[in-house]
């Protein structure tokens, strides 16, 4: 590394962090969080009376926590990140099991657990930790074939999917399984195996269509809008049209009044209506930039663990963004998923913060590699 980096690194932890962290990603994340806070103010359901900003205030409590988490994690070495992930994964699994016993039910699913007045969704914290643990297991197996990393990864996936399906949370099960397969693919799984997995995925999808009535209804309504109630997606599309290029202006949106999930699943439509297509395009570019920039950095790194972990974390981040935006735009069947850093929701914000903190930590330039 350059002499400049070396001297800066010696002066202080903060200085070293500043000169080694990927400032492009850092900047993109900062912009994303800022835009997210602005959109929450626009989209959060208004309560009448003194508590009008209830949702904004709640989110406002989580954002500093998320920022602190990102910063703290990004200061850590890859080894510490791995340790944090292992501990976090164990704790999250425990909480998920507890959720099944003592959780509270919302809209037919038991995903939340009440801690100190806040509803927590442990599966959101589990996701990034699981990605890092899987990356570790796969890379360890690759570097030392005697190490049963592959078997451990398969076993852990089984446990995670089991807990998710018991909640039930099929959407997250699919995302988790897809990312896991993606990591396997990156870890050098033979093409024949990949074809087999793809076949499994297709048959799983077909099975879900015929076995789960709500999946079937959503797909049917996507393929043939006349087949059922498409109120939400119609309103969302109208919102984008109302917004046009520059939007109707902050607070002028109507879609948030008619869509119950305007502050979570359909926040992209609120953004489109009030701030216009240009801001939405900017958001898409930001998401794409963060993902691709991270992939690029992971490719440059000569460590398989870093590559698998960063790619997994960013793939999850990008997939979530794609599903959310695609749903609101009638590009794919609707699937409730939060838009990272934009949608309302403390648990998902914390989960994403863990992801991005880990990405920043793992993509730091390693002066002298001595800090591992």
């Amino acid at each position: 590394m350059s002499a400049r980096g070396f001297t800066r690194a010696d002066t202080s932890i903060l200085g070293r962090w500043w000169w080694t962290v990927d400032r492009w990603t850092l900047g993109a994340l900062a912009i994303l969080i800022t835009v997210g806070m602005m959109l929450i103010v626009a989209a959060a359901p208004m309560k009448k009376g003194a508590d009008a900003f209830h949702f904004v205030m709640r989110q406002g409590m989580f954002v500093p926590l998320a920022l602190a988490l990102i910063f703290w994690l990004s200061l850590q070495s890859p080894k510490t990140v791995r340790r944090v992930a292992v501990v976090g994964f164990a704790v999250a699994l425990g909480l998920m099991a507890l959720t099944l016993l003592a959780g509270h039910e919302v809209k037919g699913a038991t995903r939340w657990i009440r801690i100190a007045g806040f509803s927590l969704q442990p599966s959101e914290m589990m996701k990034p930790c699981f990605v890092v643990v899987t990356a570790w297991m796969l890379s360890a197996h690759r570097e030392d074939p005697t190490f049963p990393g592959m078997h451990i990864a398969i076993g852990l996936l089984g446990i995670v999917l089991g807990l998710l399906i018991l909640q039930p949370d099929f959407g997250m099960s699919v995302v988790v399984a897809a990312i896991w397969c993606g990591q396997l693919f990156l870890a050098g799984l033979p093409i024949l195996w990949i074809a087999g997995l793809a076949l499994l995925a297709v048959s799983g999808g077909v099975g879900a269509y015929f076995g789960l009535s709500h999946v079937q209804s959503r797909v049917d309504r996507f393929l043939d809008p006349a087949a059922g109630d498409t109120y939400q997606i119609t309103k969302a599309l109208q919102a984008f049209q109302n917004g046009n290029l520059f939007g109707r202006g902050p607070g002028e949106g109507r879609v948030k009044e008619v869509l119950p999930d305007a502050h979570t699943d359909f926040i992209f439509a609120v953004a489109g209506e009030e701030f216009g297509m240009i801001l939405c395009l900017f958001l898409i570019v930001l998401f794409a930039f963060i993902v691709l920039r991270g992939f690029f950095l992971a490719m440059k790194d000569d460590n398989l663990f870093v590559l698998l972990a960063v790619a997994g974390l960013l793939a999850e981040f990008g997939m979530q963004a794609f599903i959310n935006m695609g749903s609101s735009l009638h590009l794919i069947p609707t699937k409730g998923m939060t838009l990272p850093f934009i949608s309302y929701g403390g648990s998902s914000l914390i989960g994403i913060a863990v992801s991005m903190g880990a990405v920043l930590a793992l993509t730091r330039r390693h002066p002298g590699r001595g800090d591992a």
Binding site: D144, Q241, I284
Partner: protein
Amino acid sequence: MIRRKSAPAIVPGVDLRAAAEAARTAPLRVEGSAKTALETGRTRLAFAGGIFLLLFLAVAVQLINVSFRPDAERIARAAPRPELPVGALRADITDRNGVLLATNLPTVNLYADARLVRDPDRMADDLARVLPDIDGPRTRERLKSRQAFVYLHRHLTPAQQFAVNRLGYPALKFEDGEMRVYPQGGLFAHVIGKTDIDNRGISGVELRFDAALKAGEPLRLSLDIRAQTAVTAVLRDAMAAYQAAGAAAIVQDARTGEVVALTSLPDFDPNRPETMTPDAMFNRATLGVYEIGSVFKIFNTAIALESGKIHVSDRFDATAPVQIARYTIHDLHPQKRWLSVPEILVHSSNIGSARMALDFGAETQRAFLGRFGLLSASAVELPEVGGPQVPPAPWGQITVATVAFGHGISVSPLQVATAASAVVNGGVFHPATLVARAAEDAAPGTRAISERTSRMMRRLMRLVVTDGSGRKADVLGYRVAGKTGTAEKVVNGRYSHTAVLASFLATFPADAPRYTVLVALDTPKGTPATANFTTAGWNAAPTAGKIVAAIAPMLGVEPAADPFSGGDPKNGPLMVAAMGKE
């Protein structure tokens, strides 16, 4: 780094040949495999990156498509009726004959995109010309707001919409709306209730059947608009004539429990919000509970006869007031002699009723009042149902004695009518209902008293009208039977002698009752026509008579001679028959 643990890293300065040689040995084969894995990973990651780039490009293209090219055809297909608000198909409510009582009118609401307004003052003036009831200053303020969506006026008529369009302002826009309309005005106000501005039921059957109405299921009520019109007109006249503070009337099918007419005054017009004062909104027939007074002697007498402990010819000492603990029970018209069961009812003797009740006891009294539905809230399909105020068990002697003549217990007028129907219809209790049902769907009902007791009660109640306090309720040919009740109201914690609730329970025809009528007048005043009396015989009884005279022909009750009478009513065969062995 994990790599360093499994194999030594290639570090600068190591001899390349040594490294190449080392690559052939066993531990470094692993290193080589890891290297290959890294290369594979990099290639595949580039591939994954390409996929993500494509996905995000697809989102961007779709965003531009949706925002720029409003694909009208696809949007129209996506939403079969996007222009109509949710719940546009709220169903109609009709009376039992299918006459429309509540329906929906499609309307338009006027709004403005205030960003397009150039001259708010001129536009406000123009709007005020075509929509005279618009709020001028507020409209001006809204037009100046620069907001994309401001409501200006709800529910425009087609003519008004045309006039607004003719003004030619592009900023003025219309939104489809709907309005709940009650063609009969306030005639059914307390039964039907009201919807809010978003057409959700907020009272009456509009609230009780909100889900079904929203789902498009029409509601056919048991009410009959002809009877309702007649009852309301008679009651309104009576309320004015006796200067009462309020009034309620119920007509119920004695054989099925169906409510045919239900009026509570003062009432309101659901089309005119300014008429909806709290007093007018209060349903005196179902929500209000009152100490109903002597009408309760119907139930007391029926219980006495049904209990088997008391025979119709038994006599009770009414020579002097009854003392129970520190209370004294008086008669309003003291006869100062021993009275038979029919005489106790005809002369409305509190003393006699109390002595009868003390004879059959608290257990029997409670059991039968329960069977008459007087101890629990009416099952009628309204949200506005008042629960009865019943003294806590066990009932002591004073409670038993006062409940006998309708004091110490408060019930709603509808409960009284429903219980009386059970007494006269052959003894079967049918819960009150507001929904029209086919004869075969009618609830079977539960037996409250025997057929025999019911028959006797009809004779005794007919006697009250022919010989007792209910004479003014009689209608030639329709054989009205009934009972008066004048309950002193509690004013400032004491029973008042001037403020009363005057009521009359009528049923007709007495020989085979078809309908039960209950009239209640809240605090009527004495007038020259009533010889300054406020007792029920002078106001509620004639009102009930007028209602019977008006509705009996339209409900298909045939006039006939009185099968019970046939001699001098004073000491005629009815009284003899009633007292004689049966």
